[in-house]
C-alpha cells in the first residue's frame, strides 16, 4: 500500500466527504457557497469603494444604471448605484459580510446554547426536562416574525441586537433535536459499556453521546444559517434590522424598493440575486449533508 491511507483506514468524516461529493448539484452548491464566502471575506480587496465610508460616496452618482462610470473615482459601476450614490457591487459584497456574519454567528451561538439545553434536558430528565421542553414548545409555537419584531422593538436596532434576537428564536430547534438524539443515543449499548467501565456521567454525555448527536445538529445548523440570513433580511427590509449606515442585503433591497416602479430595478434586483445565491448555496449544501448523514437514505 502506498503512503496514502487505505480506503478503510479513513475516518467516518472522510467517508461522509466522499459521499457528499457524489452529487453534482451539491458540489455546485458548495462552489457557489465558497464564492460567496470568499467574496465576503475579501471584500476590501475586491471592491472599488468602501460603501460605509460616506466620504467616498458621491450624491451626484445616485441611482446610476449598471455600466455607468463614476464621476470622480474613474471606475465603472457594473451593477449601478443606489440612492446615496453607493456602488451597488461594493455594497452587495459588504452587505454579504453583514448578512453572513449575522447568519453564521447567530446560528453558531444558537447551536451551542440549544445543544447545551437539549443535553441538560436529556441528562437531567424529569421536571427539568419537562420544563425546558415546554419552554421550547412555547417558543416554537409563536410566529417567528412577530416574536422577532417584538424583541427588536424592545432592544432596538443594531447588528448585535439582531443576532441576539435570532439566537433567542433559534436555539429551540437545536435544543429539541439535541435532546431527542441524546435520548436515542443514551439507550445504545455503547453507553451501557461506558457506564459499566465506571466512566463518569458527564464524561459519557460529552465524550460519547455528544459526538453521535452531531450529524443531525450539523444539518439543522446549515439550514438554520440560511433561515437566519433570510430572517435578518426580512427584519432589515421592515426597517428593524441593521442601521442604514451599514446596509445588509435586506436593507439594500428595501432601499431600492421605492425605485422599482420608476424602472430603476437594479437597486433591489442585484442584492436580491446575491441573497438568493447565498441561500440557495447553503440550502443545497445542507440538503446534501442531511442525505449523506442520514443512515436511512444510505445505499
Amino acid at each position: 500500500m502506498s503512503a496514502a491511507k487505505s480506503y478503510d483506514e479513513r475516518s467516518i468524516w472522510w467517508l461522509v466527504a466522499a459521499d457528499f461529493l457524489h452529487s453534482r448539484i451539491a458540489v455546485g452548491g458548495l462552489v457557489l457557497l465558497a464564492v460567496v464566502v470568499l467574496a465576503a471575506l475579501l471584500a476590501p480587496w475586491i471592491t472599488p469603494q468602501n460603501p460605509y465610508d460616506l466620504l467616498q460616496l458621491d450624491v451626484l452618482d445616485a441611482r446610476l444604471p449598471p455600466g455607468s462610470h463614476s464621476s470622480e473615482g474613474g471606475y465603472t459601476y457594473w451593477l449601478g448605484t443606489d440612492g446615496q450614490g453607493r456602488d451597488l457591487y461594493s455594497a452587495i459584497v459588504y452587505g454579504l459580510r453583514i448578512s453572513l456574519t449575522v447568519g453564521v454567528g447567530s446560528a453558531l451561538i444558537a447551536a451551542v446554547v440549544g445543544t447545551l439545553v437539549g443535553l441538560v434536558a436529556a441528562y437531567a430528565g424529569g421536571k427539568v426536562d419537562a420544563l425546558l421542553m415546554r419552554l421550547v414548545d412555547l417558543l416554537l409555537s409563536f410566529p417567528t416574525i412577530l416574536m422577532a419584531l417584538m424583541i427588536l422593538a424592545y432592544v432596538g436596532k443594531g447588528v448585535g441586537n439582531v443576532m441576539l434576537t435570532l439566537v433567542l428564536l433559534e436555539w429551540a430547534y437545536y435544543a429539541r433535536t439535541a435532546r431527542g438524539q441524546a435520548l436515542v443515543e443514551a439507550r445504545r449499548e455503547y453507553v451501557d459499556a461506558a457506564r459499566g467501565q465506571g466512566i463518569a456521567r458527564w464524561r459519557i454525555v460529552t465524550g460519547h453521546i455528544l459526538p453521535n448527536c452531531l450529524p443531525p445538529l450539523l444539518v439543522i445548523g446549515a439550514l438554520q444559517i440560511a433561515r437566519a440570513i433570510t430572517l435578518e433580511a426580512t427584519l432589515s427590509f421592515l426597517g428593524l434590522g441593521v442601521p442604514i449606515t451599514e446596509p445588509s442585503l435586506g436593507l439594500l433591497i428595501s432601499n431600492g424598493y421605492q425605485y422599482l416602479l420608476s424602472n430603476e430595478y437594479w437597486i433591489s434586483f442585484f442584492p436580491g440575486v446575491a441573497l438568493l445565491a447565498a441561500i440557495v448555496a447553503i440550502n443545497l449544501v445542507g440538503d446534501q449533508l442531511r442525505d449523506v448523514l442520514n443512515p436511512r437514505l444510505q445505499k
Binding site: D8, A193, G198, I199
Partner: protein, 691 residues
C-alpha cells in the same frame, strides 16, 4: 397457457446453471454469486448453507428475480420447470412470483404491512393471481391458515401483524407463501430470529406441508443443524460458490471439502465438553479482493500451490457421483470422532463451595412499568377513571444467583425470560427494584463510592451486538484505553502499550488500534469489546448472547478466546445464551429461566444427563443437532406467554405436558433434588421432600 410441457418427473422443478450475480458498488464489482449450479427435483428440500457474505441469500433473490441495483444477474440460467427465467419479461416473471414461486423472509415484521390487517393482506395476495370474489379469497386465506396448523384462524385474520407473536407472524408469512400452492418456495432464514421451541414447531409444520403438497423448498440458513433436520440435500456455499453439494448424509457424515469439515468440527457438539473447539483460522475473504485460486485456500490446512493458482472445479465423489465437491484435495477419510481429536480439557480447579462469591443475587426482582402518575394525584385520577392502574412487568421475579471466582455459570432461556435483565443486574447496570445484590461478600448498598467503582470494574460485560456496543465515533485505542486511563490502571505515557497488550490478549493485531469500529468485521468487533472489558482488569465477564450474532466459524474462535481467558486469567463468567450447545460446552453450572423465574439449576453434566423440569427437558429435546436428523419434532405446544400477563401458579403450566391442577394455583419453590441440583416443579416435591 404457455408452452411448458406437461409436468413429468424428468423435468426438475428448478435447475440453476452457472448463475452469476454481481454488485456494482463504488468500491468495485463484487462477484456475490459466482457460478452457482444445482438441480432441485419435485418435492425435494435443499438446504443452502453458508456464513454471512457467502451469497446464499442473493442466490435465492436471483432465482426469484428480486435482485435490486446495484446488484444484477449477469450470467447463467434459471430453469423453472424447464422454462428459462432470467430472460423473461418483468410482467411474466411477476405472474410467476407469489403464484408458482414464493419466498419467505427472515423478518416477518418487515414482510407484513404493519398498518393492514392480516386478512386484507392475504386477500390481496389471493386476488393478485386468482379472479375470485373477496369472500372466496377470504375463505381461501382462512383455510390456508388452518392448514398451517394455526389455531383460531378467524381471529388471526382480523389481527394486525403487531398483535401476533413473532412465531405466529412467521406462520402467517408462510401461509401467504403457500396460498397458491406454489411449486417452489425459497425460505431465507425464516426461523433464525425465533426461539428454539417455536422454531421446532415451525420446522415440523413446514416439513408436513412440503410432504403433503409436493412443493420443492430451498431453505437458506447459516445453521447446519437446522438444515440437517429438514433437508434432503445440502449445498454449502463459500464466497459466492457452492463448495459441496450432496445428500444430508453425504455432506454431514462424509464431508469432503475442508470448509464443510471445518464448519462441522467447530460446532460445540462435535467437541469434547469444555475443550478448545477446533476452529477454522482467519475469516471469509473480501469479495473485492478474492484470491485467484480456491477462495478457501488462505484458511485451508490442506492448501498447496495448485489451490492458490486456479479455482477448484466441482467434481463428483468417486463412490457417490451425486455428491459434488469443489476441491483439489477432498478429504476422503471419515470424520475424526470428536473426543480423541480434541485437546485435553485443561485441568481446572472447580470453584469451591466455600469461596466467597464474586457476586450473589438474593431474591432480586426487576419490575418495569408505568408508575406515573404517583401519589395522591395518581390515586385521584385513577379513582375518577382518568388513569389506569399501572401495568407492571416482572422481568425478573425473585431470583437467587451466585458466581464464584473462576466459575462459568450459564444462564439459559427463551425470549422474555429475563436472562438479559438479570445479566445487567449482575453487571451493575441496573439496580433491582427488590432483593439484594452482594458483591464480594458485602451488600452493594453498603459500599462506599470507591468500593462501588471497584466492584463495577470487577464485573465487566460483553454485549450481544458487536455493532451497537462500540461507539462508532471513537477510535479503537480510545474505546479500549479510556477507562483504564481514567481509573489510573495506566498513565498517559503507557496507555498506548497498555492498549496494545489488551488487543493482543483479545487476539487482535495492535496495529489496527487507530481505526474506527466500522472498519472491522463482526468477530473482530467482538474482540474489541472483549479487549475493552479486559482493560479494566475484571475478575468476571457477563456475556449476554456474546456469540449469537457471529458466524459459526467465528463463533468457535470467540468461544476459544473465552476459554483461553478463563484458563489464563482465572476469569469467572456469567454466560447468557439461548444456545444450549454453547452453554453445554462452556459452563460449569447451568441456570434455566422461564418468564422471570429460575426453573432449574444444576452442574452442566447433571443437567444434560438428568434434566428434571419439564421445560428443561423440552429445551433439550428441541436443540437442533447435526446428529439428530429427525423426521418428527416433539415440540412443546403453544407460545411463550407474554411476561406482562404471565400465567398463574407455575408459569410453564399451560405448555407443560405433565401439568397438574396444583400447578395452576401454586407457585412451585426452587428446592434441591440432588447434590447442587435444584428445580422449581411440583412433580419433585413429594419425592424429595425428606431431603
Amino acid at each position: 397457457m404457455s408452452a411448458v410441457p406437461v409436468q413429468d418427473l424428468e423435468v426438475p422443478t428448478l435447475e440453476v446453471r452457472n448463475l452469476q450475480t454481481r454488485f456494482h458498488t463504488r468500491a468495485g464489482v463484487l462477484p456475490v454469486v459466482d457460478g452457482v449450479s444445482f438441480t432441485l427435483g419435485r418435492g425435494k428440500v435443499l438446504g443452502l448453507v453458508g456464513e454471512s457474505g457467502s451469497g446464499k441469500s442473493v442466490t435465492g433473490f436471483s432465482i426469484m428475480g428480486l435482485v435490486d441495483p446495484p446488484g444484477k444477474v449477469e450470467g447463467g440460467q434459471v430453469l423453472f420447470q424447464g422454462r428459462e427465467l432470467t430472460q423473461l419479461p418483468a410482467t411474466e416473471r411477476r405472474e410467476l412470483r407469489g403464484n408458482r414461486i414464493a419466498m419467505i423472509f427472515q423478518d416477518p415484521m418487515a414482510t407484513l404491512n404493519p398498518v393492514l390487517r392480516v386478512d386484507t393482506q392475504m386477500i390481496e395476495a389471493v386476488k393478485a393471481h386468482q379472479r375470485v370474489s373477496t369472500e372466496e379469497a377470504r375463505r381461501h386465506a382462512r383455510d390456508t391458515l388452518g392448514r398451517m396448523g394455526i389455531p383460531s384462524p378467524e381471529e388471526r385474520l382480523r389481527a394486525y401483524p403487531h398483535q401476533l407473536s413473532g412465531g405466529m407472524r412467521q406462520r402467517v408469512a408462510i401461509a401467504i407463501a403457500m396460498l397458491h400452492g406454489p411449486d417452489l418456495i425459497i425460505a431465507d432464514e425464516p426461523t433464525t430470529a425465533l426461539d428454539v421451541t417455536i422454531q421446532a414447531q415451525i420446522l415440523s409444520e413446514v416439513q408436513k406441508l412440503v410432504r403433503e403438497t409436493g412443493t420443492s423448498l430451498i431453505w437458506i440458513s447459516h445453521d447446519l443443524s437446522v438444515v440437517a433436520s429438514l433437508a434432503d440435500e445440502i449445498a454449502v456455499m463459500y464466497a459466492g460458490r457452492i463448495v459441496e453439494h450432496g445428500t444430508v448424509a453425504d455432506v454431514l457424515d462424509h464431508p469432503q471439502h475442508p470448509y464443510t469439515r471445518g464448519l462441522i468440527d467447530s460446532l460445540p457438539s462435535a467437541n469434547a465438553r469444555g475443550a478448545r473447539l477446533r476452529q477454522i483460522q482467519g475469516m471469509t475473504p473480501s469479495l473485492l479482493d478474492m484470491p485467484v485460486g480456491c477462495a478457501f485456500a488462505p484458511r485451508c490446512p490442506h492448501a498447496d500451490a495448485a489451490c492458490e493458482q486456479r479455482p477448484g472445479v466441482s467434481r463428483p465423489r468417486h463412490d457417490a457421483p451425486w455428491h459434488e465437491v469443489r476441491c483439489f484435495h477432498p478429504q476422503r477419510d471419515t470424520l475424526v470422532p470428536a473426543v480423541s481429536a480434541a485437546l485435553p480439557a485443561t485441568a481446572r480447579v472447580p470453584a469451591q463451595e466455600q469461596d466467597v462469591p464474586l457476586i450473589a443475587l438474593r431474591q432480586v426482582a426487576q419490575r418495569f412499568g408505568a408508575t406515573l402518575p404517583p401519589g395522591a394525584v395518581g390515586r385521584t385520577l385513577r379513582s375518577i377513571g382518568l388513569s389506569k392502574p399501572p401495568v407492571v412487568t416482572h422481568a425478573v421475579d425473585g431470583v437467587d444467583l451466585s458466581v464464584r471466582p473462576g466459575e462459568v455459570v450459564g444462564l439459559v432461556g427463551e425470549s422474555g425470560c429475563g436472562k438479559s435483565t438479570l445479566g445487567r443486574i449482575a453487571a451493575g447496570l441496573l439496580t433491582p427494584t427488590e432483593g439484594e445484590v452482594i458483591v464480594g461478600g458485602k451488600p452493594a448498598t453498603s459500599l462506599s463510592g470507591e468500593e462501588q467503582l471497584a466492584a463495577r470494574l470487577r464485573i465487566q460485560m460483553v454485549f450481544q451486538d458487536p455493532y451497537a456496543s462500540l461507539n462508532p465515533r471513537l477510535r479503537v485505542s480510545r474505546i479500549v484505553g479510556e477507562a483504564a486511563l481514567l481509573h489510573g490502571l495506566t498513565d498517559a505515557s503507557g496507555q498506548d502499550d497498555y492498549v496494545c497488550a489488551q488487543l493482543r490478549r483479545a487476539g487482535l493485531d495492535p496495529a489496527l488500534r487507530h481505526r474506527y469500529p466500522h472498519q472491522f468485521s463482526g468477530g473482530q468487533r467482538q474482540r474489541i469489546g472483549i479487549a475493552r472489558a479486559l482493560a479494566v482488569q475484571p475478575s468476571m465477564l457477563v456475556c449476554d448472547e456474546a456469540v449469537a450474532a457471529l458466524d459459526v466459524s467465528i463463533q468457535a474462535q470467540i468461544l476459544n478466546l473465552f476459554m483461553d481467558l478463563r484458563d489464563q486469567l482465572g476469569l469467572a463468567y456469567l454466560f447468557i445464551s439461548h444456545d444450549l450447545g454453547v452453554i453445554e460446552h462452556l459452563c460449569d453450572r447451568v441456570v434455566v429461566m422461564y418468564l422471570g423465574r429460575v426453573v432449574e439449576s444444576a452442574p452442566v453434566a447433571e443437567l444434560f444427563a438428568r434434566p428434571a423440569h419439564p421445560y428443561t427437558q423440552a429445551l433439550l429435546d428441541e436443540i437442533p443437532s447435526i446428529d439428530a436428523r429427525r423426521t418428527t419434532f416433539s415440540a412443546i405446544r403453544g407460545e411463550i406467554p407474554s411476561p406482562i400477563a404471565p400465567p398463574s401458579g407455575c408459569h410453564f403450566h399451560p405448555r407443560c405436558p405433565k401439568a397438574m391442577p396444583r400447578c395452576r394455583a401454586e407457585v412451585p419453590q426452587l428446592r434441591g433434588i440432588a447434590v447442587r441440583h435444584a428445580t422449581a416443579c411440583h412433580l419433585y416435591e413429594a419425592t424429595y421432600d425428606t431431603n
